[in-house]
């Protein structure tokens, strides 16, 4: 026997969730008669069966004395829905403050990221929200939130996006920060995404025979090759920006206060407090970028391991000093 939730706590939670959903779906259907069930399901994030179940309950609801003329009219035919006799539900419930804030903050963040195709439409939508929702929902917040990203998007972004959509291989000239080298390679780009202020493309890299992330602003040229590829389902958004490999060397650094930001910015392994300094292990498959990192940190970071990194930093400092002699 399947457990029934009845009037228990979880039962009422479920009822409240369904009520919340209905108070949004019904006005939409009053305004957009004959909308397909599948479209409603997609827009409102509800399964077909659940939706039909809710709509079936709706047409025994209405106003007292609950006679035939007082109940909400629900008509489901050929997978489409019509609702009438629900004038009081002809417009949706207001946004709660939490909903308005959450959407406004996310929207502002996205609108200010250079290279977002939706930015103009998003900006005008946010302006409408500011105007129409009024101070009782958003407060003074609209004037107090800003998202001013410095800079401009990578010029190659449009070419890469088109290649992603059309599953087309690209030939790129790429500057890899890990090795401080520029190389030409062919990639199969699958997803473009933005993380901590930069655009990346998740792609299959022919040169290494591996999946790689490429920073869009480090792609100097992107040329479509005309060749199509079968996507492997590579995903970008939300993944860590550094994927450990078997070739990784553990780099052990002692970070003094001026260098502690490194532990926030990069994905570090172990962290140990050492009398005001922080000892971290940074996995790295190439030492060049770590050497440049240590160089910029000046005396604020000490290399504990490996010894060849110390030597490399010394060499890098020597070569850089050469520019100033």
């Amino acid at each position: 026997m399947t457990p029934r939730t009845g009037g228990s706590r979880s039962g009422t939670t479920r009822a409240s969730h369904r009520l919340e959903r209905l108070l949004v779906i019904v006005p939409y259907l009053v305004r957009h008669p004959g909308t397909e069930l599948t479209e409603i399901g997609g827009l409102f994030g509800v399964g077909q069966e659940e939706l039909v179940e809710d709509l079936n309950l709706l047409f025994v609801s209405g106003l007292p004395p609950y006679g035939p003329g007082d109940l909400i009219g629900v008509d489901i035919e050929d997978g489409r829905v019509w609702i009438d006799m629900a004038d009081y539900f002809a417009r949706p419930l207001r946004l709660t403050r939490a909903e308005a804030l959450a959407l406004y903050l996310r929207g502002t963040a996205l609108a200010g990221t250079p290279g977002v195709r939706e930015a103009p439409a998003l900006a005008s939508a946010l302006r409408k929200l500011e105007e129409k929702l009024g101070p009782e929902t958003l407060g003074e917040l609209a004037q107090r939130v800003e998202s001013a990203e410095a800079g401009r998007p990578a010029e190659t972004l449009d070419v890469i996006r088109k290649a992603v959509e059309e599953h087309e291989r690209l030939r790129i000239e790429y500057y890899a920060a890990s090795s401080a080298e520029t190389t030409t390679r062919e990639i199969e780009p699958e997803e473009v995404f933005s993380a901590i202020g930069n655009w990346y493309v998740a792609a299959w890299d022919d040169r290494s025979g591996e999946e790689r992330l490429f920073r869009a602003d480090r792609i100097r040229n992107a040329e479509p090759t005309g060749a199509r590829f079968e996507p492997r389902g590579l995903a970008g958004a939300g993944r860590p920006l550094y994927t450990p490999t078997e070739r990784d060397v553990p780099v052990r650094l002692l970070l003094h206060p001026g260098a502690r930001w490194v532990a926030e910015y990069y994905e570090v392994g172990e962290e140990t407090e050492r009398e005001g300094a922080l000892e971290v292990v940074l996995p790295a498959s190439r030492l060049e970028w770590v050497a440049r990192l240590v160089l910029r940190l000046g005396g604020e970071a000490e290399v504990l391991e490996p010894p060849e990194l110390k030597a490399r930093v010394g060499d890098l400092a020597h070569r850089t000093l050469g520019l100033y002699e």
Binding site: Y28, G42, T96, A109, L133, E146, A180, I196, G236
Partner: protein, 315 residues
């Protein structure tokens, strides 16, 4: 009677009614729902339903029927219930959907867009496009919402903060603005103990933000963005300019993201000189050194000296 049916009927009744209704009147009209013999259990059920309805955001006004407030009546005020008419173009709604899904799922943000769908033309792509954006994990977490609420309500906030240098302390701040930059949210306001305007990265706040007393007003012409690092020169508005030369390997991208950078004609050795906004402090020297032997500070002389000093320290 199904609980959902009861809830829908109650919202419909209180929303459609011209005047507030007492529990007795509601019980009379909705006898299938609250008509039980036991008045107390009927009242309890009504109270529970009322709480659920309020929880989903339905405003219910309570009006006293007599001076002793013994008898109360309930109504859903139409002007507080209904969403104002806002017309949206399909691409605007689609952009809002993308925003709501940016940086992971966020139920309130998505629910907000679903309410707004009403004002859009039909025939939208079901579910709109996916959101290929990942901002800092937990962007709309409790701290961000709490900061936004405090700004909207003009309340000061208290919180534990750890600086980039690792120093932890308790802060008491009059919050004046929120800034999103390079994937992070910053709260900007007056640090009361320090008597200065400071920017706090929300990911460095430990624990919750607690609202305290009324916040003082922001000074005339305050702009939150000016207090958050905007480029390699560090926080604030740059006052000077510096010239930096970049090797051909890095010259084409190094200054791509920097506002106010002016690229000079390429030198005969292929290096590119760029004039950049600059401010006193370590930030610019540190940034130039991150390019190793691929970048050279050309001027001012003080910047060259600082770089040489740092290089000699690690050699």
């Amino acid at each position: 009677m199904h609980p959902l049916e009861r809830l829908v009927d109650l919202v419909a009744l209180l929303l459609d009614s011209r005047r507030p209704l007492t529990f007795e009147q509601i019980r009379d009209k909705m006898s299938d729902a609250y008509g039980q013999e036991d008045l107390h259990s009927a009242k309890r059920m009504f109270e529970r339903d009322k709480d659920i309805i309020r929880d989903v955001g339905v405003p219910i006004d309570v009006v006293a029927q007599d001076v002793w407030e013994v008898e109360q009546a309930y109504v859903i005020p139409k002007d507080k219930y209904y969403l104002p008419e806002i017309e949206f173009e399909p691409e605007e709604i689609s952009a809002l959907f993308v925003a709501a899904r940016t940086g992971g799922e966020d139920a309130p943000a998505e629910q907000a867009v679903r309410k707004l769908l009403y004002g859009a033309d039909g025939g939208l792509l079901a579910g709109a496009s996916s959101a290929p954006f990942a901002t800092e994990a937990g962007t709309t977490d409790a701290r961000l919402t709490a900061a936004a609420e405090a700004i909207a309500a003009r309340r000061s906030v208290r919180f534990a903060y750890r600086t980039a240098r690792g120093a932890g302390s308790e802060r008491h701040v009059d919050p004046w603005g929120l800034v999103f930059r390079a994937g992070h949210w910053y709260l900007v306001g007056l640090d009361r103990e320090r008597g200065e305007i400071r920017a706090f990265r929300l990911s460095r706040v430990a624990g919750a933000l607690r609202e305290e007393d009324e916040a003082g007003p922001a000074p005339e012409g305050f702009r939150a963005g000016e207090h958050v690092q905007a480029g390699p020169w560090g926080p604030g508005e740059p006052e000077e300019r510096a010239t930096v030369a970049f090797s051909p390997d890095v010259g084409w991208w190094a200054t791509g993201g920097i506002q106010g950078a002016v690229v000079e004609p390429t030198r005969s050795d292929g290096w590119v000189q760029v004039s950049l906004p600059a401010a006193p402090g370590d930030a610019l020297a540190s940034w130039i050194l991150s390019f190793g032997p691929d970048a050279e500070a050309v001027e001012p002389e003080s910047l060259r000296k600082e770089i040489v000093r740092r290089l000699e320290a690690v050699r």
